[in-house]
């Protein structure tokens, strides 16, 4: 679909050549007129470009400042993550799930664990484990959105908010370091529950973090989201109408930025989210076209900023209802999963992260497949960038908030 559109755009911008003209001036001198030969210029954005958020190459065809076609080239970070899943044991695949979406590793752990648990009939995760999972996943969502917030500012040209965002992200990382020992690749959520119980005082510190973060969140909003220069760069840019968002299969903030009210946490509740929604612990923020049109870059950005606050509310609710108990269900050391196949989709910070696993009753998966949100969300840029200015292409790519590790896997 995107290819045909960019071809049409290319045809509309066919280079026009005119013949050379010459005339003699009254003074006797000869003057030559050359019409400027215009032909489309292909610019490589990437593979190593700070605005592509990883090793990704976007081939941009431009006529002057106008972008007439764009094509994303993927695969620079391909590490065969899915194939590895068919060669190692169930639990051994867990550390690999950390590594495709490295900004939201907790969510990946959760998605994979839930997919394997879905294959075990009658298995239930203990309640304390569910709550610890929810707290960690939501904290990770905040950390991931903070990176999205900071790096988007960086793309547009604002460096300060990035440093402010990383201050709180650092705190979240040290919280994770206390509970599981790692700062980025956690492997904390495990098939059947979680690895470790929260150390003493950890839950209190999380509560303290929530209090401080609420104050800081207002700073983020004033510093970047409501900044006039930032609004000028992002409003009315890269508009995705509702229909287009649904057609491209967008999920997460990309979809909600266009005003489509869909969130897996609420509409297909898993873990404690159904209960939390009934208790009114979180809302689903939607883009409203407040500063520009519905579905522009600013709306998507704004949805992410608001979601951080919703996550804080969810963490607070979990801290209220959490109770003592076992943290992991009865899972054997050498796990043999009953035969069958399962697909479980969860709401990653970037959208729907789906894991499809197929077991034949052995120690190793027969098929392991991942549906990454970044990969699907990225597909829309080829359509979006046609007809915009070259300077806006950075704003559009940044607003998709992709993690290249996950588009390539």
């Amino acid at each position: 679909m995107s290819n045909s559109t960019s071809d049409q755009a290319l045809k509309a911008h066919e280079p026009s050549y005119s013949t050379e003209e010459r005339r003699t001036l009254p003074s006797g001198e000869e003057e030559f007129f050359f019409d400027v030969k215009t032909s489309d210029l292909e610019v490589n954005m990437g593979p190593q470009h700070p605005a592509t958020h990883g090793v990704m190459r976007v081939l941009i065809r431009c006529d002057g400042e106008l972008v007439t076609g764009a094509q994303a080239h993927l695969g620079y970070l391909h590490r065969c993550a899915e194939k590895i899943g068919e060669n190692v044991e169930w639990l051994q695949y867990l550390p690999y799930t950390d590594r495709y979406d490295y900004l939201a590793a907790m969510n990946n752990n959760l998605g994979y664990s839930m997919a394997v648990e879905a294959l075990m009939p009658g298995f239930e995760v203990p309640r304390r484990a569910t709550m610890l999972r929810t707290i960690c996943v939501e904290l990770n969502r905040i950390a991931s959105h903070l990176v999205a917030y900071g790096t988007y500012g960086l793309d547009i040209g604002a460096i300060t908010p990035f440093l402010y965002a990383f201050r709180e992200r650092e705190w979240i990382q040290s919280l994770f370091e206390k509970i599981c020992g790692a700062r980025l690749t956690y492997s904390y959520i495990r098939i059947g529950g979680v690895f470790n119980d929260a150390p003493p005082g950890w839950l209190t510190e999380v509560g303290h973090f929530c209090d401080v973060f609420e104050e800081k969140w207002k700073e983020y909003r004033d510093l970047l989201a409501l900044n006039h220069i930032f609004i000028k760069r992002t409003a009315h840019v890269g508009v995705i109408p509702k229909d287009m968002a649904i057609d491209f299969g967008l999920t997460g903030p990309m979809l909600r930025g266009s005003g489509v009210d869909f969130d897996l946490r609420r509409d297909m509740p898993y873990m404690a989210y159904g209960e939390a929604h009934e208790a009114g612990a979180f809302d689903v923020p939607l883009g409203e076209g407040e500063k520009g049109e519905l579905g522009d870059c600013w709306d998507r950005f704004s949805v992410r900023v608001q979601e951080m606050m919703e996550s804080i509310k969810l963490v607070r609710w979990c801290l209220e209802v959490i109770e003592d108990g076992p943290i992991i269900g009865d899972v054997p050391k050498v796990l043999k999963v009953p035969p069958g196949e399962a697909y479980v989709g969860i709401e990653n910070p970037r959208g729907e992260l789906g894991h499809y696993v197929h077991s034949d009753g052995g120690k190793i998966a027969v098929r392991c497949r991942v549906r990454g949100p970044s990969f699907t969300n990225l597909s829309v840029i080829e359509e979006l960038m046609v007809g915009t200015l070259l300077a806006d292409s950075v704003a559009i790519i940044g607003s998709t908030d992709i993690v290249v590790g996950e588009t390539d896997r």
Binding site: V88, Y93, I179, A182, T185, L223, K333
Partner: protein, 187 residues
């Protein structure tokens, strides 16, 4: 006219949001620096930190549970068994491969492999990253003593057994001789 108004409105809005930004950053102007001068000062490392492993060699029974749990096969161990005692040859962990996932720690039946708080993997050559976790090779002194004691006990036991067997055999022989002599009545 509308355009002119918008032009000045934009300038005003930009100035205003710049001032808001400056106010927020200004709040942090007089704060103490939070930078930690790394090699001299260090942040506290939590107990559960997943750093370089350490091994409680005396407890280890060479069961290979950790090596089997490792997703990338970076643990290799070799030990010679002398009855119950182990003579260690090597227990290497390849930190070029290791991804610090802690999956090797959980299946250990003796709880003897742990992840420590050391994290600096600075070497001059890559091959040096193949760490040997053994503090000593061969057998520990007390293990050797235990083995020798066990061997001595075994020898004593065997000797006692042999003596018993010999006695028994002698008794039987005596009995046979006795029965023979009884019948003969020559002695």
């Amino acid at each position: 006219m509308v355009r002119v108004n918008r032009y000045f409105q934009d300038i005003w809005d930009t100035l205003k949001s710049t001032m808001i930004g400056m106010r927020i950053t200004g709040k942090y102007l007089l704060r103490k620096p939070i930078t930690v001068q790394y090699p001299d000062q260090r942040l506290p490392i939590p107990d559960r930190y997943r750093g370089i492993h350490y091994l409680e060699q005396e407890k280890c029974i060479d069961c290979l549970a950790c090596a089997r749990a490792c997703p990338i096969d970076c643990i290799e161990m070799d030990a010679i068994r002398h009855g119950k005692e182990l003579e260690w040859v090597s227990f290497t962990l390849d930190y070029q491969k290791c991804m610090f996932c802690e999956l090797c720690v959980y299946p250990c039946p003796k709880d003897c492999i742990h992840m420590g708080t050391e994290f600096a993997l600075v070497v001059e050559d890559r091959s040096e990253l193949n760490y040997d976790l053994l503090s000593f090779k061969g057998m520990a002194v007390d293990a050797r003593v235990r083995m020798r004691e066990a061997e001595e006990k075994k020898k004593i036991k065997e000797a006692a057994k042999a003596a018993k067997a010999a006695e028994k055999a002698a008794d039987e022989n005596d009995g046979e001789k006795g029965s023979g002599s009884d019948g003969g009545g020559e002695v």
